[in-house]
Amino acid sequence: MTVETTARPVLMKGNEAMAEAAIQAGCDAYFGYPITPQAELLEWMARRMPELGRAFVQAESELGAINMALGAAATGARVLVSSSSPGISLMAEAMSYMAGSELPMVLINVMRGGPGLGSIAPSQSDYFQATKGHGHGDYRVPVLAPSSIAEAVDLVAEAFAMAERYRTPVMILADGVMGQAMEPVVPIYRMPPREPAGWELTGADGRPPRILRSLHLQPEDLEAHNQKLQAKYAVISEREVRWAGERLEDAEIVVVAYGTAARVARTAIERAREAGLRAGIFRPITLWPFPSRDLAALAPRLRAIVVVELSAGQMVEDVRLAVEGRTPVFFHGRTGGMVPTPAEVVAVMERARDATSAAASDTAVLR
């Protein structure tokens, strides 16, 4: 079902747009704890959810919030939690339990600078945590990275659909800019259809009891459970990869960037083209599953790849793994809440071109 609430663009703040998108997607329950730069999301839910007769609890901590989500999800409810980096670290424990118990949930991380208390300014330094980390054990969580507010609205609905389709937590990895910036958008809200789950707890009325758990004490049982999870992750990797490309047709140098970094990169490639450099963008939308295959297919015809992140270099590792040394990979990142400028990105692209030009080919020292 697609609901277009307004034909004219409205000015929306990222956090609020994502909150309203969740509401329109049929979110039954929200649990959160205040933290900058995502507090407006919690505040929006505090007002809207009770108004609609849905569940809202400001928890005692992020541990409390995500475990409330675990309980609500166990009954088949559509559940959202949100936080920012330090809070996500606390939620890591329950992420692992929810993956193990196969409970759907959408979790929004509006990233801020770290490590530790870090800063409240935007960052992309939780890429490792989101795509390879958080809790213990062999599990994966789909990670969706919006790069505009309109896209964030769309991905929230998609995240609920994916969470239920695969019985898994799904993470939306936004950053402080995505959360705080205001943008004119024509929000297109979607309510994913509700399928009867068949596993949810409702009370064992006229059917055998159901148990939702992650504990499997017998090694044979736990291995079988892990194999089932891995098979599910293989299907997700096969079917759910998303990315967007711009000006790739004739590109010789491609910037790989997601979220806010991709916005900077867009300006940078236009400037680079004005300066005669054929530049394009490859923008992963799913960070896990990472669009490795498509990037690998593109790489051989490129002179160089430039990865731009608001981090000391995290996604760049997945890019290198994807291209397997076939294409030189350069990196530019800023940390601590600093955002790379288009001029910086153009400079790195030029350096990449020079380092890979015929004259420099054999001796170039590649970072």
Binding site: L63, M68, G71, P209, L212
Partner: protein, 265 residues
């Protein structure tokens, strides 16, 4: 031909419908079995099976779902009251309880239980205090008695090193969100009967729309305590009750009636 006298036998003890027919993994003399039975009896007598969602915690009793024939969700260690909050908030008609040990509730899960209580969550908490971390091999718990030897307090718990036993149920009873708080034991048959009454009252209060109802149950861990089963029972009724006195700490719903025991009906 002989005529048989009319059969006057009466069935006075049977497996409650909601207790599964399987052999227990609990150690001989462990109190969890008795408490599981009480819970199963009450859920059966009160016809709660079809609406109950149980919330299991981490400890020896994580396997409660193997013995109670109802829907169950498992929580991370200590988080059961938060998980139960989530269940409650989207399932207003469900009967919701947590079953937690003292390590789970009074150490790692202190924040979750205190805030679920402060919010007055309409859930029942079955809090099994055996004064020790049973599942991990008998280490000291926050509830361990002063002087008690455990694998992590080999010389006996000393206040200057490890502080004092936490009377957490008394602390919770101070909160207006807690409608009922009581402490029973399973050390002898009459104590078991009184504990069952407390649990019934706790369940009634949830059904009547009250806030949190919590029953702490002094239980045994003969293996962890280095005692025989009878010694462990005697230890509860003679020693443990001195630190943790039995009785009802608060009943904020005195006007709300208690349902009838099946034997009194």
């Amino acid at each position: 031909m002989t005529t048989l006298a009319p059969d006057t036998r009466r069935l006075i003890y049977e497996r409650p419908e909601l207790l599964t027919d399987r052999s227990s993994h609990y150690c001989p003399g462990c109190g969890h079995g008795i408490i599981h039975r009480l819970v199963a009896e009450l859920l059966t007598e009160m016809h709660l099976g079809p609406t109950t969602i149980g919330v299991a915690s981490v400890g020896c009793s994580v396997f409660a779902y193997d013995y109670l024939d109802i829907d169950f969700v498992e929580s991370p260690h200590g988080r059961a009251p938060a998980v139960a909050t989530g269940v409650r908030r989207v399932r207003p008609d469900a009967f919701v309880f947590t079953y937690q040990g003292d390590g789970d509730l009074a150490a790692i899960g202190t924040a979750e239980i205190v805030h679920a209580a402060a919010r007055g969550e309409r859930i029942s908490v079955i809090f099994v205090n055996n004064g020790i971390y049973g599942m991990t091999g008998g280490q000291m718990a926050p509830t361990t008695l002063l002087g008690q030897r455990t694998t992590s307090s080999p010389a006996g718990r000393e206040a200057n090193l490890a502080g004092y036993p936490i009377p957490i149920t008394e602390m919770l009873a101070l909160l207006p969100g807690v409608s009922y708080a009581a402490r029973g034991s399973i050390a002898d048959p009459s104590a078991i009967g009184r504990t069952k009454k407390m649990l019934r009252r706790a369940f009634d209060i949830q059904l009547a729309g009250g806030g949190m109802s919590i029953v702490e149950i002094l239980s045994t861990c003969p293996v962890g305590w280095g005692m025989t089963a009878p010694e462990a029972m005697e230890h509860v009724s003679k020693e443990v009750v001195l630190t943790y006195p039995l009785g009802v700490m608060v009943d904020r719903m005195k006007d709300s009636p208690t349902s009838k025991d099946k034997d009194e009906a």
